[in-house]
Point group: D2
Amino acid sequence: MPDYIPELALATPQWFGISVATVDGRYFEVGDYSRSFTIQSISKAFVYGLALEDHGRDYVQCKVSVEPTGEAFNSIMLDQSTNRPYNPMVNTGAIATTDIIKGANPTERLKRILEMIRRYTGHNHDVNMPVFLSERTTGNRNRAIAYLMLNFGMVTEHIEETLDLYFQQCAVMVTAHDLATMAATLANGGVNPVTGERALDERYVQDVISVMFTCGMYNHSGSWACKGGLPAKSGVGGGITALVPEKLGIGVFSPPLDARGNSVRGVGVCRDLANDFGLHVFDIAKPDHDLEAFMATQGADSSDSPDLMWDKT
Amino acid sequence: MPDYIPELALATPQWFGISVATVDGRYFEVGDYSRSFTIQSISKAFVYGLALEDHGRDYVQCKVSVEPTGEAFNSIMLDQSTNRPYNPMVNTGAIATTDIIKGANPTERLKRILEMIRRYTGHNHDVNMPVFLSERTTGNRNRAIAYLMLNFGMVTEHIEETLDLYFQQCAVMVTAHDLATMAATLANGGVNPVTGERALDERYVQDVISVMFTCGMYNHSGSWACKGGLPAKSGVGGGITALVPEKLGIGVFSPPLDARGNSVRGVGVCRDLANDFGLHVFDIAKPDHDLEAFMATQGADSSDSPDLMWDKT
Amino acid sequence: MPDYIPELALATPQWFGISVATVDGRYFEVGDYSRSFTIQSISKAFVYGLALEDHGRDYVQCKVSVEPTGEAFNSIMLDQSTNRPYNPMVNTGAIATTDIIKGANPTERLKRILEMIRRYTGHNHDVNMPVFLSERTTGNRNRAIAYLMLNFGMVTEHIEETLDLYFQQCAVMVTAHDLATMAATLANGGVNPVTGERALDERYVQDVISVMFTCGMYNHSGSWACKGGLPAKSGVGGGITALVPEKLGIGVFSPPLDARGNSVRGVGVCRDLANDFGLHVFDIAKPDHDLEAFMATQGADSSDSPDLMWDKT
Amino acid sequence: MPDYIPELALATPQWFGISVATVDGRYFEVGDYSRSFTIQSISKAFVYGLALEDHGRDYVQCKVSVEPTGEAFNSIMLDQSTNRPYNPMVNTGAIATTDIIKGANPTERLKRILEMIRRYTGHNHDVNMPVFLSERTTGNRNRAIAYLMLNFGMVTEHIEETLDLYFQQCAVMVTAHDLATMAATLANGGVNPVTGERALDERYVQDVISVMFTCGMYNHSGSWACKGGLPAKSGVGGGITALVPEKLGIGVFSPPLDARGNSVRGVGVCRDLANDFGLHVFDIAKPDHDLEAFMATQGADSSDSPDLMWDKT
């Protein structure tokens, strides 16, 4: 658990939930899949989609690039030639996309983000106030990032308002079930498979999935793309979401994190699912295994030590 | 044309050929698709596959990582924590994979690489001797890279032998037709669609395609993955190869390069094909256009200035 | 003139004043030596001395290193192993030293800095309010620096208060005559040669002079140490101060700046003085020229274009 | 002892010698001051002087800058805007200055370097063949540096010849007594105080001393300039040389090194001498202590553990 968000230290390491949602609306779930936690950086992928809807590809591209970076997720570095953040999956880029979310005032902007998440999950969501306040209090690195971007004219002057919105969206409460639905919505071309509601303009689905694939797992993204082969996004709350285009969405919740801030068991579950079921997007000889049997196996492991279940990379 | 390989300056800017090969063995071709040129960096993707066959994933992973890098293709930087090259698509990584290609002596090692390319294309290939000698003479940056890796024990002591093999594989003569067949072979799970011969062990096809997708277009890879959405690899000889898994392979030849070393028209053709035909790997709402009609359009443009045809990014 | 401080753009390029003060209290002066301008970064050297008096060498050393850096003066980089600013002559380091200046409240802290400058010059100084407000408004890069240091626990939480004090000390009004006296005070072991008042504890004189020598001229410091050979500090207000230990202090005022932010004519005057009079601290065969004759020469040039008088380095 | 030069591992940690030579030809010496060891990087300062004599300041400046760098001594980094090494005290810069030492062939060039050192010490010097061969065998990082500079046209094509000369000059055998005489020669304006022979053109003495002051102690140079305040140069053979302009030269020999490659006891002796005798070049209130008494004290400590005698920074 990251020590810069003291509230997250209260999580129980044993919590472990998996949910898989197919694009035709079926779920395979096990363990703590309905336990709530804060979405954290997973929100970055979806807020990026909303920014694209609000402003279109050309404008958003002026504010944030889509290049992977070897830097850590909280690096303060900007692309030196354009002063843009490297991509919307790192803090710099997510603050830049949050800054341009439309709305007449802070309340309306937050409501638009919550309403966007509602379209993906099919129900309303709360913001965890203690986590929000905790991140706001300790968020001086993000404050430095914001002022540096302001210095380059890349964000507006309402730094604290933008940071509040950024910390609020990170503190939205979700479940592994929700994350699976959100990913399945992307896998389904932007339409929620259960409600049938469109959550993201069809044109931008490929933008969000692409940047999840190349940049979603921090400075582990390249290895992840090669070994896991699933577009994915993790958050320091212990959640991870991944998807197989046109097939299914995955949500995992398990608080213990590796050094890069990815859920140890979450990474393991996604990799195992990808390998066992031939889900790697570039795996051409796809096997045909039994998803329900896989989920049953995971359930048995739920009480084990995560360090033993999944190796740390 | 890159000034560090004087031989390449002899190319005619107007040359322009496109070839598309489907996994069921059909070709759609136009212009200079049967004109020979040096494969250059496109070889890196395929030599990486051979290294995986020679040593397996675990060993190769100790020699070269698979992380994208914001550095230029000829950067001398290594991953500081492991002293590994960032990925096999940049020079450092390609020298590292070349170093481990098996063979009793330099001749046999070169023969194994040429034989590997033969399996992909279905016919034998020559090495362009003037280009090879030209690159060897001016290859001091690659020499520096090799000695730096030797200092860290990442390559063997036969620096000049390894560099010769590296420069030779870059000087292999291919056509746009060949590149289309090579890409279609990957798209077909490693089996040449025309000859039916296996060119790459099924297990490693996803490794090669993944690293083409995340790292294949130098420090433009992230934008390429988002906008083009095709696993691809370009070379400073003016060639570019791209593929749609399970569908088709693309080969383009057009010598004028952009600042990053990618063929200007090659990038444009791949992007247009991807957009017009919904080939982006994460484009879920795939349209259904007429490939033959597209190729006819391209033919008409063959005499135009590339600067007007394709914008430079 | 730096565009990030709009007020400074009002300066007249032709202004040009030189003052040389000896440790026995004589002055050689010419041109606009009594015209006031803002001290800007020259204050950094003297505030560093005050921080040393307030806390001693060991404590100050925990807050700021004394290593030269190849980075620009406004770089946001910190020493990665200790999170300390590289040295007190760049913005990061100066904000760190300003943060630890003692005083019960902001007013008292500013008074202590003004009182310290008074001891060096022998008279009271004003803060230029428009320049202060101008820098405060546009100081978002310094705000980013401060929050980044706060994130590492290197400065206290009163960011805006510290930045105000930093911007105020930069906006103190001085003349070339004052700068010569201040430098002569350091050259005289910390005692003002005219008033006889001690301005800096004898123990810390060598600290201030050393860091001026190695870090005083931004990322030009190494060349300056080799070619000019005088401990010096410049400011974007067009001032520059330099000294010859045990001999004299120099103050120059001329607004046009080079790309690094150093006064073009100021650098030229110091270098000419150093070379013509053998003032380089490591020039062992010191010639013996006529300082009054030199100053007369400079006077004649005062109306010339600075671009012709001094090459840009 | 550095593990990249296996021969140096044979040194005895207890060896400890100090020599102080005044510009009027007196010596104060204790311990192993006449024991021979390899000069290593200390040669860089003197070869820089020879390069200046061979080509003048303007030409040498095109080949190597004089800016301090935060990088380690063996960094491969060059100044990105000019492709020059940062300064002649790091390996890149020393290889660049070695490359331009005049001479009709390798033998003559080595002879000119040995003859130059002879002028400084008053007697002939040997090259330690096993150390030379050892460094040549393991010198792949320096080989990488040389090829990178060749790639930028900063050195000539005779890489192995230049590296041989570089490794040979590093393997020249000297004593602490020699180092004291060499430093005293610089302190005396380039004239050997004992023989009266000129070792370095008067014009370039300040260049050599300046770059020793700002860059001589690797990435510890800034702290050294502030705390020690003596122009100095260390070598991984355990030697260190330092000087007080117009006063004296110091040579210390003690093999145990700190993490930066500086002799632990050597740094300590120089700092103690500087502090106890007010030798800091910017210490204006210079005390007047008894040098002979100091040397007697040092002698008593010669058998102690270096770790206890001198703290490691």
